[in-house]
Symmetry: C2
């Protein structure tokens, strides 16, 4: 290759710096300095802790305070002391502030829409490329949080998981899967568990646990978004769900999978899972278990 990977990354950096700069400049079009606009973006209508704003933007406390005062004078936000800890303050968007935020949203949305349109027939590919890069850059901030199995973000993960099974497993058909999951109740505490891995605001993985009997539980719905593969996330999810099962008092775990899903099976074997007798119907054709 004419350009080595590092030069190509730097070419990417230049292109993207220009783009980001242009976005910043267009934000200035609303007649407010960038620093203040950035603070405003972090103030939620329900209220945001002032310390959170300071941390996220890595701002000095004095500067943050002044930005907030200034936004307050404009009537865009209100602040009040946190009743739980009266040293802390909470900033909240006013109606006027929400309108202003909507205007900023519109600017960002327009620019994004224009770029997607520019990608034409390759828009899907471009979005996948952006997911990959964003997930890589966010890698150190990946968070795994419990979720309700009927929440929209959970449904999105499950849909993606089903789509992948249908795509890869010959025996899997769309009729086998329905959403919302009729058995969702068994994934909810206190009986079961459902976790989602987040990279910023994109769900990039999930895993669930449901009880089979008093001492045995089943691991299901292990899925990792294409952009997050190859970074050990599946392993983290599995180890989390095993810890949860242990804490809930289970002594044994089972799962069913399909032999075409070789990466998953390799992962299971490498973390102590062994083949067991069949205990479910197709599309599964491989059954594994692990003593906790």
């Amino acid at each position: 290759m004419y350009l080595d990977p590092i030069s190509r990354l730097r070419r990417f950096n230049r292109a993207v710096t220009r783009e980001v700069g242009a976005l910043d400049t267009s934000f200035l079009g609303r007649g407010r300095p960038l620093g203040m606009a950035r603070v405003l973006q972090l103030v939620r209508p329900e209220g945001t802790d002032v310390a959170v704003i300071r941390d996220r933007l890595a701002l000095d406390s004095g500067l943050t305070s002044r930005f907030l005062r200034s936004l307050e004078r404009e009537g865009l936000i209100e602040t009040e002391t946190d009743l739980a800890d009266r040293r802390r303050r909470i900033a909240r968007l006013t109606a006027k502030g929400q309108a202003e935020m909507a205007a900023y949203e519109a600017i960002g949305y327009d620019r994004a829409a224009r770029l997607i349109a520019k990608a034409g027939t390759r828009a899907d590919e471009v979005v996948a490329a952006m997911d990959l890069i964003a997930t890589l850059l966010n890698r150190d901030h990946l968070e795994i949080r419990p979720a309700d199995p009927d929440a929209p973000e959970a449904l999105a993960c499950l849909q993606a998981y089903f789509d992948e099974l249908i795509d890869r497993v010959p025996a899997a058909t769309p009729q086998m899967f329905s959403l919302p999951d009729p058995g969702a109740d068994r994934y909810r505490p206190p009986h079961g568990r459902f976790f989602i891995a987040w990279s910023d605001d994109l769900p990039v993985g999930c895993v669930s646990l449901r009880p089979l009997d008093a001492t045995t539980a089943e691991v299901k719905r292990l899925w990792v978004h294409a952009s997050a593969r190859g970074q050990g996330l599946a392993r983290r999810l599995m180890s989390l769900i095993e810890d949860e099962a242990r804490a809930m008092g289970h002594r044994y775990l089972k799962l069913d999978t399909n032999s075409v899903l070789t990466e998953a099976i390799t992962l299971y074997r490498n973390s102590g899972w062994v083949d067991i007798e069949p205990y479910t119907d197709p599309p599964g054709d491989t059954w594994m278990g692990k003593a906790l």
Copy 2:
């Protein structure tokens, strides 16, 4: 999908803004304000026109001048008046300035290398994703320039072109192609032509023309980088080479291709090319011609 493409683009934007910000901050580690560092980056050892620097960074002339004076005081650059137009000035890097630039280069290189390393087994995919995005963002600045067929950038294009043929055309084997091209001479002016399309500093396409007889020429080596496909570049290259042939006095064009390269053949047909009698050996199996 839980997140629509536009939200995902904006997530990408956030991730990348943080990264770019961090790069800027690390440049500040050399104890020089960012603006001045940016100016320094544009001063070449051979000399750069001051107006070029101003334009590229969209700086006020007063500010540019002050930055240059300051870099001059530090001994990093020298300026002299342009002899061709004595209103203009040229800035040139001193030895000390070159050392300083090397230090900046090293910072950028390190960060890039670290990010590539973080991508682990998916580094190739990440670089391809970055190419795709950078080419999209640079789309309006795509430039097609003549090149020598033996220049490194030309060899890179040809190698990529051959690799693709070997990959897609069953009859094509590595033994059929060698580089540098033994027939390179026929692609050079005044007899032939060789053009490369550049997106920033990445060659993303090429096309060449060689004479067959006094009034007929052959179009060869039409190639477009994966990141630049679907944006009409092949069409631009073809239309350019046809114009060149016309200007050189040719009346008729020919080309040979392979039936598996369907997008290319569709492009040819849509721009007035028609099937003709075979005139070459494999791996070609489709021959086309166009009267100018």
